[in-house]
Amino acid sequence: MKAMIIDDEPPARRELRRLLTGFPWVEVVGEAGNIDQAAEMVETLTPELLFLDIQMPGGSGFDLLTRLEDVPQVIFTTAYDEHAVRAFKVDALDYLLKPIEPARLAEALSRVRSAHAARVPPPNAVLEQIFVRDGSRCWFVPLREVRLLTSEGNYVRLSWGKANPLLGRALAALEQRLDPNRFFRANRRQIINLDFIESVELGVNGRLHAQLRDSPEVEISRRQARLFKTKMSI
Protein backbone atom coordinates (compact mmCIF):
# COMPACT_ATOMS: atom_id res chain seq x y z
CA MET A 1 0.00 0.00 0.00
CA LYS A 2 1.43 3.33 -1.06
CA ALA A 3 1.64 5.87 1.74
CA MET A 4 2.87 9.45 2.09
CA ILE A 5 4.07 11.32 5.17
CA ILE A 6 3.12 14.97 5.36
CA ASP A 7 4.65 16.84 8.31
CA ASP A 8 6.67 20.03 8.47
CA GLU A 9 9.14 18.73 11.04
CA PRO A 10 11.94 16.57 9.61
CA PRO A 11 12.54 14.68 12.88
CA ALA A 12 8.85 13.83 13.03
CA ARG A 13 8.96 12.47 9.47
CA ARG A 14 12.05 10.42 10.21
CA GLU A 15 10.46 9.02 13.34
CA LEU A 16 7.32 7.94 11.53
CA ARG A 17 9.32 6.40 8.69
CA ARG A 18 11.28 4.42 11.24
CA LEU A 19 8.08 3.26 12.95
CA LEU A 20 6.65 2.20 9.58
CA THR A 21 9.59 -0.11 8.86
CA GLY A 22 7.77 -2.55 11.12
CA PHE A 23 4.94 -2.75 8.56
CA PRO A 24 6.48 -3.93 5.30
CA TRP A 25 3.16 -3.81 3.47
CA VAL A 26 3.15 -0.03 3.87
CA GLU A 27 5.46 1.55 1.31
CA VAL A 28 6.34 5.19 1.97
CA VAL A 29 6.44 6.65 -1.53
CA GLY A 30 7.08 10.25 -0.52
CA GLU A 31 7.43 12.90 2.18
CA ALA A 32 6.29 16.50 2.11
CA GLY A 33 6.97 19.37 4.51
CA ASN A 34 4.16 21.71 3.48
CA ILE A 35 0.81 21.45 1.78
CA ASP A 36 1.74 22.92 -1.61
CA GLN A 37 4.45 20.36 -2.03
CA ALA A 38 2.10 17.71 -0.66
CA ALA A 39 -0.77 18.54 -3.04
CA GLU A 40 1.55 18.19 -6.01
CA MET A 41 3.03 14.91 -4.80
CA VAL A 42 -0.36 13.39 -4.04
CA GLU A 43 -1.49 14.08 -7.61
CA THR A 44 1.58 12.46 -9.16
CA LEU A 45 2.28 9.66 -6.68
CA THR A 46 -1.39 8.78 -6.01
CA PRO A 47 -0.78 7.35 -2.52
CA GLU A 48 -3.58 5.28 -0.98
CA LEU A 49 -2.84 6.46 2.54
CA LEU A 50 -1.76 9.80 3.99
CA PHE A 51 -0.12 10.39 7.35
CA LEU A 52 -1.10 13.99 7.77
CA ASP A 53 0.01 16.57 10.33
CA ILE A 54 -2.55 19.26 11.10
CA GLN A 55 -0.51 22.40 11.79
CA MET A 56 1.78 23.14 8.90
CA PRO A 57 3.18 26.23 7.21
CA GLY A 58 1.11 27.64 4.40
CA GLY A 59 -2.08 25.86 5.43
CA SER A 60 -3.35 23.08 7.64
CA GLY A 61 -3.81 19.42 6.90
CA PHE A 62 -7.50 20.12 6.43
CA ASP A 63 -6.65 22.73 3.79
CA LEU A 64 -4.72 20.10 1.90
CA LEU A 65 -7.66 17.69 1.93
CA THR A 66 -10.12 20.26 0.60
CA ARG A 67 -7.68 20.91 -2.24
CA LEU A 68 -7.44 17.28 -3.27
CA GLU A 69 -9.88 16.07 -5.87
CA ASP A 70 -9.85 12.48 -4.76
CA VAL A 71 -9.08 11.92 -1.11
CA PRO A 72 -7.13 8.83 -0.11
CA GLN A 73 -7.39 7.27 3.32
CA VAL A 74 -6.04 9.56 6.00
CA ILE A 75 -4.45 9.06 9.39
CA PHE A 76 -3.94 12.36 11.16
CA THR A 77 -0.79 12.73 13.21
CA THR A 78 -0.79 15.51 15.71
CA ALA A 79 1.11 16.62 18.78
CA TYR A 80 -1.71 18.38 20.47
CA ASP A 81 -4.65 19.12 18.17
CA GLU A 82 -6.51 16.00 19.15
CA HIS A 83 -9.51 18.17 19.99
CA ALA A 84 -9.33 19.71 16.53
CA VAL A 85 -9.61 16.28 14.96
CA ARG A 86 -12.36 15.17 17.26
CA ALA A 87 -14.31 18.36 16.70
CA PHE A 88 -14.83 17.35 13.10
CA LYS A 89 -17.63 14.98 12.39
CA VAL A 90 -15.38 12.47 10.79
CA ASP A 91 -15.69 8.80 11.46
CA ALA A 92 -13.82 7.68 8.37
CA LEU A 93 -10.46 8.52 9.82
CA ASP A 94 -8.05 7.83 12.60
CA TYR A 95 -5.59 10.00 14.40
CA LEU A 96 -2.31 9.35 16.15
CA LEU A 97 -0.85 11.50 18.88
CA LYS A 98 2.82 12.37 18.65
CA PRO A 99 5.05 10.91 20.01
CA ILE A 100 3.37 7.96 18.34
CA GLU A 101 2.86 4.79 20.30
CA PRO A 102 3.79 1.80 18.10
CA ALA A 103 0.78 -0.20 19.34
CA ARG A 104 -1.61 2.60 18.39
CA LEU A 105 0.03 2.82 14.97
CA ALA A 106 -0.47 -0.92 14.47
CA GLU A 107 -4.12 -0.58 15.42
CA ALA A 108 -4.72 2.30 13.03
CA LEU A 109 -2.94 0.51 10.21
CA SER A 110 -4.93 -2.68 10.68
CA ARG A 111 -8.13 -0.65 10.39
CA VAL A 112 -6.83 0.94 7.21
CA ARG A 113 -5.91 -2.47 5.86
CA SER A 114 -9.30 -4.03 6.48
CA ALA A 115 -11.09 -1.02 4.99
CA HIS A 116 -8.78 -1.28 2.00
CA ALA A 117 -9.44 -5.00 1.56
CA ALA A 118 -13.22 -4.57 1.76
CA ARG A 119 -13.15 -1.93 -0.93
CA VAL A 120 -14.24 -2.74 -4.47
CA PRO A 121 -11.84 -0.88 -6.72
CA PRO A 122 -13.90 1.65 -8.64
CA PRO A 123 -13.64 2.20 -12.38
CA ASN A 124 -10.93 4.55 -13.41
CA ALA A 125 -11.23 8.22 -12.56
CA VAL A 126 -14.33 7.71 -10.42
CA LEU A 127 -14.30 9.57 -7.13
CA GLU A 128 -14.75 7.47 -4.02
CA GLN A 129 -14.66 9.96 -1.22
CA ILE A 130 -14.29 13.67 -0.95
CA PHE A 131 -13.36 15.92 1.90
CA VAL A 132 -15.77 18.74 2.58
CA ARG A 133 -15.30 21.67 4.87
CA ASP A 134 -18.31 23.81 5.59
CA GLY A 135 -17.73 26.55 8.12
CA SER A 136 -15.87 25.02 11.03
CA ARG A 137 -16.96 21.46 10.34
CA CYS A 138 -15.33 18.90 8.13
CA TRP A 139 -16.47 15.60 6.71
CA PHE A 140 -15.04 12.74 4.76
CA VAL A 141 -17.95 12.03 2.46
CA PRO A 142 -18.10 8.66 0.69
CA LEU A 143 -19.87 9.60 -2.52
CA ARG A 144 -21.96 6.41 -2.72
CA GLU A 145 -23.74 7.65 0.44
CA VAL A 146 -24.75 10.97 -1.09
CA ARG A 147 -28.45 11.04 -2.06
CA LEU A 148 -28.58 14.22 -4.01
CA LEU A 149 -26.20 16.85 -5.39
CA THR A 150 -27.69 20.28 -5.98
CA SER A 151 -25.87 23.07 -7.79
CA GLU A 152 -25.73 26.40 -5.94
CA GLY A 153 -23.79 28.73 -8.21
CA ASN A 154 -20.20 27.54 -8.19
CA TYR A 155 -20.90 25.29 -5.24
CA VAL A 156 -22.59 21.97 -4.79
CA ARG A 157 -24.88 21.15 -1.89
CA LEU A 158 -24.53 17.53 -0.87
CA SER A 159 -27.50 15.77 0.74
CA TRP A 160 -25.69 13.23 2.86
CA GLY A 161 -27.01 11.60 6.02
CA LYS A 162 -28.30 14.33 8.28
CA ALA A 163 -25.82 16.89 6.95
CA ASN A 164 -26.03 19.08 3.89
CA PRO A 165 -22.48 20.34 3.46
CA LEU A 166 -21.53 22.73 0.70
CA LEU A 167 -18.69 21.66 -1.56
CA GLY A 168 -16.51 24.26 -3.29
CA ARG A 169 -16.70 22.77 -6.80
CA ALA A 170 -19.00 23.23 -9.77
CA LEU A 171 -21.56 20.53 -10.44
CA ALA A 172 -20.46 20.06 -14.08
CA ALA A 173 -16.85 19.40 -13.08
CA LEU A 174 -17.90 17.01 -10.36
CA GLU A 175 -20.29 15.14 -12.65
CA GLN A 176 -17.45 13.92 -14.83
CA ARG A 177 -15.87 12.11 -11.92
CA LEU A 178 -19.06 10.52 -10.59
CA ASP A 179 -19.86 6.87 -11.11
CA PRO A 180 -22.31 6.87 -14.10
CA ASN A 181 -23.89 3.65 -12.88
CA ARG A 182 -24.88 5.26 -9.64
CA PHE A 183 -25.49 8.93 -10.36
CA PHE A 184 -27.97 10.41 -12.80
CA ARG A 185 -28.44 13.99 -13.92
CA ALA A 186 -32.12 14.76 -13.18
CA ASN A 187 -32.24 18.35 -14.34
CA ARG A 188 -30.01 21.37 -14.87
CA ARG A 189 -29.39 21.80 -11.20
CA GLN A 190 -29.55 18.33 -9.68
CA ILE A 191 -27.89 14.94 -9.80
CA ILE A 192 -29.54 12.06 -7.97
CA ASN A 193 -28.15 8.84 -6.54
CA LEU A 194 -30.14 5.99 -8.12
CA ASP A 195 -29.61 3.81 -5.04
CA PHE A 196 -31.78 6.16 -3.05
CA ILE A 197 -34.83 6.26 -5.31
CA GLU A 198 -37.96 5.07 -3.57
CA SER A 199 -40.54 5.72 -6.29
CA VAL A 200 -40.95 7.52 -9.58
CA GLU A 201 -44.18 9.12 -10.76
CA LEU A 202 -45.26 10.47 -14.11
CA GLY A 203 -45.71 14.20 -14.29
CA VAL A 204 -47.09 16.56 -16.90
CA ASN A 205 -45.34 17.13 -20.22
CA GLY A 206 -43.35 13.92 -20.00
CA ARG A 207 -41.54 14.94 -16.85
CA LEU A 208 -40.92 12.51 -14.01
CA HIS A 209 -40.98 13.01 -10.26
CA ALA A 210 -38.50 10.93 -8.32
CA GLN A 211 -38.95 10.42 -4.60
CA LEU A 212 -35.62 9.89 -2.84
CA ARG A 213 -35.28 8.43 0.62
CA ASP A 214 -35.13 11.24 3.25
CA SER A 215 -35.18 13.94 0.61
CA PRO A 216 -37.68 16.21 -1.08
CA GLU A 217 -39.08 15.14 -4.45
CA VAL A 218 -36.80 15.74 -7.43
CA GLU A 219 -38.12 16.63 -10.84
CA ILE A 220 -36.56 14.85 -13.85
CA SER A 221 -36.75 17.12 -16.88
CA ARG A 222 -38.41 15.94 -20.08
CA ARG A 223 -35.18 15.40 -21.97
CA GLN A 224 -33.58 13.52 -19.06
CA ALA A 225 -36.76 11.55 -18.43
CA ARG A 226 -36.36 9.78 -21.77
CA LEU A 227 -32.78 8.85 -20.89
CA PHE A 228 -33.91 7.76 -17.45
CA LYS A 229 -36.54 5.42 -18.84
CA THR A 230 -34.01 3.84 -21.22
CA LYS A 231 -31.46 3.47 -18.46
CA MET A 232 -33.87 1.90 -16.01
CA SER A 233 -35.57 0.01 -18.86
CA ILE A 234 -39.08 1.15 -18.13
Binding site: E9, A79, Y80
Partner: protein, 368 residues
Amino acid sequence: MNDAERPITQQKSQLVYWIFQLTGWGMITLTRFVAGVTVLDLAWPRLLLELLLVNTLGLALSHWLRDFVRRNGWRALPIRKLSWRILVASFVCGAPIGIVTQLTYLSALHDPELFLREYAPALQFQFALPFAFALEIVNWAFIFIVWLTIYFTAVALREHRSAQFKQSELTRALQLAELRLLKSQLNPHFLFNALNTVRSLIADNPARAQNAVTRLANTLRYSLTSRQDELVTLSQELDIVADYLELESMRFEDRLRIELHIPDDAAGVRIPVMLLQTLVENGIKHGIAELPSGGLLRISAVLQNEILILEVENPRPPARTRMSAHEGIGLHNARDRLRLLFPERASLELDLTKPAVATARLRIPVQK
Protein backbone atom coordinates in the same frame (compact mmCIF):
# COMPACT_ATOMS: atom_id res chain seq x y z
CA MET B 1 -8.55 40.83 57.50
CA ASN B 2 -6.71 38.01 59.21
CA ASP B 3 -7.29 36.69 62.70
CA ALA B 4 -4.34 38.44 64.30
CA GLU B 5 -5.64 41.87 63.30
CA ARG B 6 -9.18 41.40 64.44
CA PRO B 7 -8.85 41.95 68.23
CA ILE B 8 -6.77 45.08 67.70
CA THR B 9 -9.38 46.63 65.43
CA GLN B 10 -12.06 45.71 67.93
CA GLN B 11 -10.13 47.16 70.84
CA LYS B 12 -9.62 50.32 68.88
CA SER B 13 -13.29 50.72 68.02
CA GLN B 14 -14.17 50.02 71.66
CA LEU B 15 -11.87 52.85 72.76
CA VAL B 16 -13.36 55.23 70.21
CA TYR B 17 -16.82 54.31 71.49
CA TRP B 18 -15.97 55.15 75.08
CA ILE B 19 -14.28 58.39 74.15
CA PHE B 20 -17.42 59.45 72.30
CA GLN B 21 -19.70 58.29 75.12
CA LEU B 22 -17.82 60.12 77.86
CA THR B 23 -17.34 63.25 75.77
CA GLY B 24 -21.00 63.36 74.81
CA TRP B 25 -22.42 62.87 78.23
CA GLY B 26 -19.73 65.06 79.75
CA MET B 27 -20.77 67.87 77.40
CA ILE B 28 -24.42 67.54 78.36
CA THR B 29 -23.51 67.56 82.04
CA LEU B 30 -21.26 70.56 81.62
CA THR B 31 -23.69 72.71 79.62
CA ARG B 32 -26.50 71.98 82.04
CA PHE B 33 -24.28 72.70 85.00
CA VAL B 34 -23.14 76.02 83.55
CA ALA B 35 -26.68 76.95 82.56
CA GLY B 36 -28.05 75.96 86.02
CA VAL B 37 -25.43 77.93 87.90
CA THR B 38 -25.32 81.04 85.74
CA VAL B 39 -28.81 81.47 84.31
CA LEU B 40 -30.96 79.89 87.01
CA ASP B 41 -28.63 80.63 89.89
CA LEU B 42 -28.95 77.14 91.44
CA ALA B 43 -26.83 75.78 94.28
CA TRP B 44 -23.98 74.13 92.41
CA PRO B 45 -23.00 71.15 94.68
CA ARG B 46 -26.47 69.69 94.60
CA LEU B 47 -26.92 70.46 90.94
CA LEU B 48 -23.62 68.76 90.12
CA LEU B 49 -24.54 65.71 92.16
CA GLU B 50 -27.93 65.41 90.51
CA LEU B 51 -26.53 66.01 87.05
CA LEU B 52 -23.90 63.31 87.56
CA LEU B 53 -26.56 60.92 88.81
CA VAL B 54 -28.97 61.53 85.95
CA ASN B 55 -26.39 61.64 83.20
CA THR B 56 -24.68 58.48 84.46
CA LEU B 57 -28.08 56.90 84.23
CA GLY B 58 -28.31 58.26 80.68
CA LEU B 59 -24.90 56.84 79.85
CA ALA B 60 -25.85 53.47 81.33
CA LEU B 61 -29.11 53.44 79.41
CA SER B 62 -27.42 54.35 76.13
CA HIS B 63 -24.80 51.67 76.70
CA TRP B 64 -27.52 49.12 77.36
CA LEU B 65 -29.29 50.40 74.26
CA ARG B 66 -26.19 49.75 72.15
CA ASP B 67 -26.08 46.22 73.50
CA PHE B 68 -29.75 45.74 72.75
CA VAL B 69 -29.43 47.13 69.24
CA ARG B 70 -26.50 44.85 68.50
CA ARG B 71 -28.21 41.77 69.85
CA ASN B 72 -31.30 42.44 67.77
CA GLY B 73 -29.41 43.12 64.59
CA TRP B 74 -30.68 46.63 63.97
CA ARG B 75 -27.58 47.45 61.93
CA ALA B 76 -28.84 45.36 59.08
CA LEU B 77 -32.25 47.02 58.96
CA PRO B 78 -33.31 49.34 56.16
CA ILE B 79 -33.60 53.04 57.03
CA ARG B 80 -37.37 53.11 57.27
CA LYS B 81 -37.67 50.20 59.69
CA LEU B 82 -34.74 51.56 61.64
CA SER B 83 -36.24 55.07 61.96
CA TRP B 84 -39.37 54.09 63.77
CA ARG B 85 -37.46 51.65 65.97
CA ILE B 86 -35.12 54.49 66.96
CA LEU B 87 -38.14 56.62 67.80
CA VAL B 88 -39.78 53.97 70.02
CA ALA B 89 -36.51 53.03 71.73
CA SER B 90 -35.74 56.67 72.43
CA PHE B 91 -39.08 57.18 74.15
CA VAL B 92 -38.80 53.91 76.06
CA CYS B 93 -35.42 55.01 77.39
CA GLY B 94 -36.46 58.64 77.67
CA ALA B 95 -39.48 57.87 79.91
CA PRO B 96 -37.80 56.57 83.08
CA ILE B 97 -34.93 59.00 82.94
CA GLY B 98 -37.33 61.87 82.19
CA ILE B 99 -39.38 61.02 85.25
CA VAL B 100 -36.28 60.78 87.40
CA THR B 101 -35.11 64.13 86.12
CA GLN B 102 -38.44 65.75 86.86
CA LEU B 103 -38.31 64.41 90.42
CA THR B 104 -34.91 65.90 91.03
CA TYR B 105 -33.85 69.47 91.43
CA LEU B 106 -33.11 69.56 87.71
CA SER B 107 -36.72 70.20 86.99
CA ALA B 108 -35.89 73.78 87.65
CA LEU B 109 -34.02 73.77 84.40
CA HIS B 110 -37.32 73.47 82.62
CA ASP B 111 -39.86 75.58 84.45
CA PRO B 112 -43.25 74.42 83.17
CA GLU B 113 -45.06 77.30 84.79
CA LEU B 114 -42.85 79.76 83.06
CA PHE B 115 -43.21 77.88 79.81
CA LEU B 116 -47.00 77.75 80.11
CA ARG B 117 -47.29 81.39 80.87
CA GLU B 118 -45.05 82.20 77.97
CA TYR B 119 -46.29 79.90 75.21
CA ALA B 120 -49.66 78.42 76.20
CA PRO B 121 -51.54 80.80 78.46
CA ALA B 122 -54.82 79.06 77.73
CA LEU B 123 -53.64 75.81 79.33
CA GLN B 124 -54.94 75.06 82.79
CA PHE B 125 -52.42 75.13 85.58
CA GLN B 126 -53.41 71.66 86.88
CA PHE B 127 -51.98 70.27 83.64
CA ALA B 128 -48.66 71.84 84.42
CA LEU B 129 -47.22 68.88 86.31
CA PRO B 130 -48.06 66.17 83.72
CA PHE B 131 -46.90 68.60 81.08
CA ALA B 132 -43.62 69.04 82.87
CA PHE B 133 -43.12 65.27 82.95
CA ALA B 134 -44.04 64.99 79.29
CA LEU B 135 -41.64 67.76 78.39
CA GLU B 136 -38.82 66.10 80.29
CA ILE B 137 -39.55 62.76 78.62
CA VAL B 138 -39.59 64.33 75.16
CA ASN B 139 -36.41 66.15 75.98
CA TRP B 140 -34.68 62.92 76.93
CA ALA B 141 -36.17 61.02 74.03
CA PHE B 142 -34.65 63.65 71.77
CA ILE B 143 -31.23 63.09 73.31
CA PHE B 144 -31.55 59.36 72.67
CA ILE B 145 -32.67 59.99 69.10
CA VAL B 146 -29.55 62.05 68.52
CA TRP B 147 -27.42 59.44 70.27
CA LEU B 148 -28.79 56.57 68.18
CA THR B 149 -28.50 58.57 64.97
CA ILE B 150 -24.83 59.30 65.66
CA TYR B 151 -24.32 55.65 66.60
CA PHE B 152 -25.85 54.25 63.42
CA THR B 153 -24.07 56.80 61.25
CA ALA B 154 -20.75 55.79 62.79
CA VAL B 155 -21.54 52.11 62.28
CA ALA B 156 -22.51 52.71 58.66
CA LEU B 157 -19.34 54.69 58.02
CA ARG B 158 -17.18 51.99 59.52
CA GLU B 159 -18.86 49.28 57.51
CA HIS B 160 -18.47 51.32 54.37
CA ARG B 161 -14.76 51.69 55.05
CA SER B 162 -14.27 48.03 55.73
CA ALA B 163 -16.21 47.18 52.59
CA GLN B 164 -13.88 49.47 50.66
CA PHE B 165 -10.90 47.81 52.25
CA LYS B 166 -12.23 44.40 51.34
CA GLN B 167 -12.89 45.67 47.85
CA SER B 168 -9.30 46.77 47.40
CA GLU B 169 -8.08 43.48 48.86
CA LEU B 170 -10.29 41.71 46.39
CA THR B 171 -8.99 43.80 43.52
CA ARG B 172 -5.45 42.91 44.46
CA ALA B 173 -6.27 39.23 44.74
CA LEU B 174 -7.94 39.41 41.36
CA GLN B 175 -4.92 41.08 39.85
CA LEU B 176 -2.67 38.35 41.17
CA ALA B 177 -4.98 35.71 39.82
CA GLU B 178 -5.04 37.51 36.52
CA LEU B 179 -1.26 37.64 36.43
CA ARG B 180 -1.10 33.96 37.21
CA LEU B 181 -3.29 33.27 34.23
CA LEU B 182 -1.48 35.68 31.97
CA LYS B 183 1.96 34.40 32.75
CA SER B 184 2.65 32.42 29.72
CA GLN B 185 2.61 28.74 30.35
CA LEU B 186 4.68 26.74 27.95
CA ASN B 187 2.65 26.02 24.89
CA PRO B 188 1.61 22.35 25.09
CA HIS B 189 1.94 22.10 21.35
CA PHE B 190 5.62 22.93 21.72
CA LEU B 191 5.98 20.45 24.55
CA PHE B 192 4.59 17.46 22.68
CA ASN B 193 6.44 18.29 19.50
CA ALA B 194 9.64 18.59 21.50
CA LEU B 195 9.00 15.16 23.02
CA ASN B 196 8.43 13.76 19.55
CA THR B 197 11.71 15.30 18.42
CA VAL B 198 13.46 13.68 21.35
CA ARG B 199 11.97 10.32 20.45
CA SER B 200 13.25 10.70 16.93
CA LEU B 201 16.70 11.82 18.08
CA ILE B 202 17.12 8.82 20.37
CA ALA B 203 17.61 6.69 17.27
CA ASP B 204 19.22 9.32 15.02
CA ASN B 205 21.64 10.95 17.40
CA PRO B 206 21.63 9.79 21.04
CA ALA B 207 23.99 12.54 22.21
CA ARG B 208 21.71 15.20 20.77
CA ALA B 209 18.74 13.49 22.35
CA GLN B 210 20.42 13.74 25.75
CA ASN B 211 21.12 17.41 25.13
CA ALA B 212 17.49 17.96 24.12
CA VAL B 213 16.17 16.34 27.30
CA THR B 214 18.36 18.60 29.44
CA ARG B 215 17.21 21.70 27.59
CA LEU B 216 13.60 20.64 27.82
CA ALA B 217 14.01 20.09 31.57
CA ASN B 218 15.49 23.60 31.94
CA THR B 219 12.70 25.20 29.98
CA LEU B 220 10.03 23.34 31.91
CA ARG B 221 11.58 24.09 35.28
CA TYR B 222 11.81 27.78 34.49
CA SER B 223 8.25 27.92 33.27
CA LEU B 224 6.81 25.95 36.18
CA THR B 225 8.70 27.46 39.09
CA SER B 226 8.78 31.16 38.26
CA ARG B 227 6.31 33.34 40.12
CA GLN B 228 3.85 35.38 38.14
CA ASP B 229 5.10 38.75 39.38
CA GLU B 230 8.77 37.81 39.38
CA LEU B 231 11.38 39.95 37.66
CA VAL B 232 14.55 38.41 36.23
CA THR B 233 17.55 39.88 34.46
CA LEU B 234 17.50 39.89 30.71
CA SER B 235 20.48 37.54 30.63
CA GLN B 236 18.64 35.02 32.86
CA GLU B 237 15.67 35.13 30.55
CA LEU B 238 17.94 34.80 27.52
CA ASP B 239 19.45 31.61 28.94
CA ILE B 240 16.06 29.98 28.86
CA VAL B 241 15.18 31.48 25.49
CA ALA B 242 18.40 29.91 24.18
CA ASP B 243 17.36 26.49 25.54
CA TYR B 244 13.97 26.89 23.98
CA LEU B 245 15.39 27.96 20.63
CA GLU B 246 17.83 25.07 20.62
CA LEU B 247 14.86 22.70 20.95
CA GLU B 248 12.95 24.48 18.21
CA SER B 249 16.01 24.30 15.96
CA MET B 250 16.00 20.55 16.36
CA ARG B 251 12.36 20.54 15.25
CA PHE B 252 12.59 22.97 12.39
CA GLU B 253 16.22 22.20 11.44
CA ASP B 254 17.39 24.65 8.76
CA ARG B 255 14.06 26.47 8.64
CA LEU B 256 14.97 28.37 11.79
CA ARG B 257 17.88 30.79 11.83
CA ILE B 258 18.64 32.90 14.87
CA GLU B 259 20.41 36.20 15.47
CA LEU B 260 21.05 37.79 18.85
CA HIS B 261 22.16 41.38 19.54
CA ILE B 262 22.36 42.03 23.26
CA PRO B 263 24.73 44.80 24.46
CA ASP B 264 26.39 44.24 27.85
CA ASP B 265 24.64 47.16 29.55
CA ALA B 266 21.22 45.72 28.71
CA ALA B 267 21.94 42.21 29.98
CA GLY B 268 21.41 43.16 33.62
CA VAL B 269 18.08 44.96 33.21
CA ARG B 270 15.23 43.28 35.05
CA ILE B 271 12.19 42.21 33.08
CA PRO B 272 9.04 40.20 33.90
CA VAL B 273 9.77 36.51 33.82
CA MET B 274 8.71 34.57 30.68
CA LEU B 275 7.86 37.75 28.79
CA LEU B 276 10.63 37.64 26.20
CA GLN B 277 10.07 33.90 26.00
CA THR B 278 6.43 34.57 25.10
CA LEU B 279 7.46 36.97 22.33
CA VAL B 280 9.95 34.49 20.91
CA GLU B 281 7.40 31.68 21.04
CA ASN B 282 4.95 33.95 19.30
CA GLY B 283 7.48 34.77 16.60
CA ILE B 284 8.10 31.07 15.96
CA LYS B 285 4.42 30.14 16.04
CA HIS B 286 3.13 32.89 13.77
CA GLY B 287 6.28 33.42 11.72
CA ILE B 288 8.72 30.56 11.23
CA ALA B 289 6.20 27.74 11.65
CA GLU B 290 3.83 29.34 9.14
CA LEU B 291 6.46 29.65 6.42
CA PRO B 292 7.47 26.62 4.37
CA SER B 293 11.05 27.86 4.11
CA GLY B 294 11.17 29.35 7.60
CA GLY B 295 13.33 32.40 8.17
CA LEU B 296 15.38 34.52 10.52
CA LEU B 297 14.38 35.21 14.10
CA ARG B 298 16.20 38.26 15.46
CA ILE B 299 16.32 39.24 19.11
CA SER B 300 17.87 42.59 19.92
CA ALA B 301 18.06 44.91 22.90
CA VAL B 302 18.94 48.60 23.28
CA LEU B 303 19.18 50.68 26.42
CA GLN B 304 18.00 54.25 25.83
CA ASN B 305 17.33 56.89 28.50
CA GLU B 306 16.81 54.33 31.24
CA ILE B 307 14.41 52.40 29.05
CA LEU B 308 15.10 48.93 27.75
CA ILE B 309 13.86 48.38 24.21
CA LEU B 310 13.61 44.71 23.33
CA GLU B 311 12.77 43.61 19.82
CA VAL B 312 11.81 40.22 18.46
CA GLU B 313 11.67 40.23 14.71
CA ASN B 314 10.36 37.40 12.59
CA PRO B 315 9.28 36.95 8.98
CA ARG B 316 5.55 36.96 8.53
CA PRO B 317 3.55 34.92 6.07
CA PRO B 318 2.33 37.05 3.15
CA ALA B 319 -1.33 36.04 3.34
CA ARG B 320 -1.66 37.44 6.82
CA THR B 321 -3.11 40.89 6.54
CA ARG B 322 -5.56 40.88 9.42
CA MET B 323 -2.80 41.33 11.93
CA SER B 324 -4.95 42.12 14.93
CA ALA B 325 -6.44 38.68 14.72
CA HIS B 326 -3.03 37.24 14.04
CA GLU B 327 -1.52 38.94 17.03
CA GLY B 328 -3.07 36.20 19.06
CA ILE B 329 -3.54 35.47 22.67
CA GLY B 330 0.19 35.39 23.45
CA LEU B 331 0.87 39.06 22.74
CA HIS B 332 -2.46 40.08 24.18
CA ASN B 333 -1.68 38.37 27.47
CA ALA B 334 1.84 39.75 27.52
CA ARG B 335 0.44 43.26 27.14
CA ASP B 336 -2.06 42.73 29.95
CA ARG B 337 0.69 41.42 32.16
CA LEU B 338 2.82 44.48 31.49
CA ARG B 339 -0.11 46.74 32.31
CA LEU B 340 -0.56 45.02 35.66
CA LEU B 341 3.13 44.95 36.53
CA PHE B 342 4.13 48.44 35.34
CA PRO B 343 1.03 50.58 34.99
CA GLU B 344 1.57 53.20 32.26
CA ARG B 345 5.33 53.02 32.00
CA ALA B 346 5.87 49.97 29.84
CA SER B 347 4.57 49.16 26.41
CA LEU B 348 4.42 46.40 23.87
CA GLU B 349 3.65 46.95 20.23
CA LEU B 350 3.60 44.83 17.13
CA ASP B 351 5.24 46.73 14.32
CA LEU B 352 4.20 45.64 10.82
CA THR B 353 5.56 48.57 8.87
CA LYS B 354 8.44 46.60 7.37
CA PRO B 355 7.42 44.37 4.49
CA ALA B 356 7.12 40.68 5.25
CA VAL B 357 8.46 41.20 8.78
CA ALA B 358 6.71 41.44 12.12
CA THR B 359 8.51 43.12 15.01
CA ALA B 360 7.31 42.83 18.56
CA ARG B 361 8.76 45.80 20.43
CA LEU B 362 8.83 45.89 24.20
CA ARG B 363 9.70 48.99 26.24
CA ILE B 364 10.41 48.55 29.92
CA PRO B 365 11.71 51.19 32.33
CA VAL B 366 14.92 50.16 34.08
CA GLN B 367 14.06 48.97 37.59
CA LYS B 368 16.27 50.44 40.29
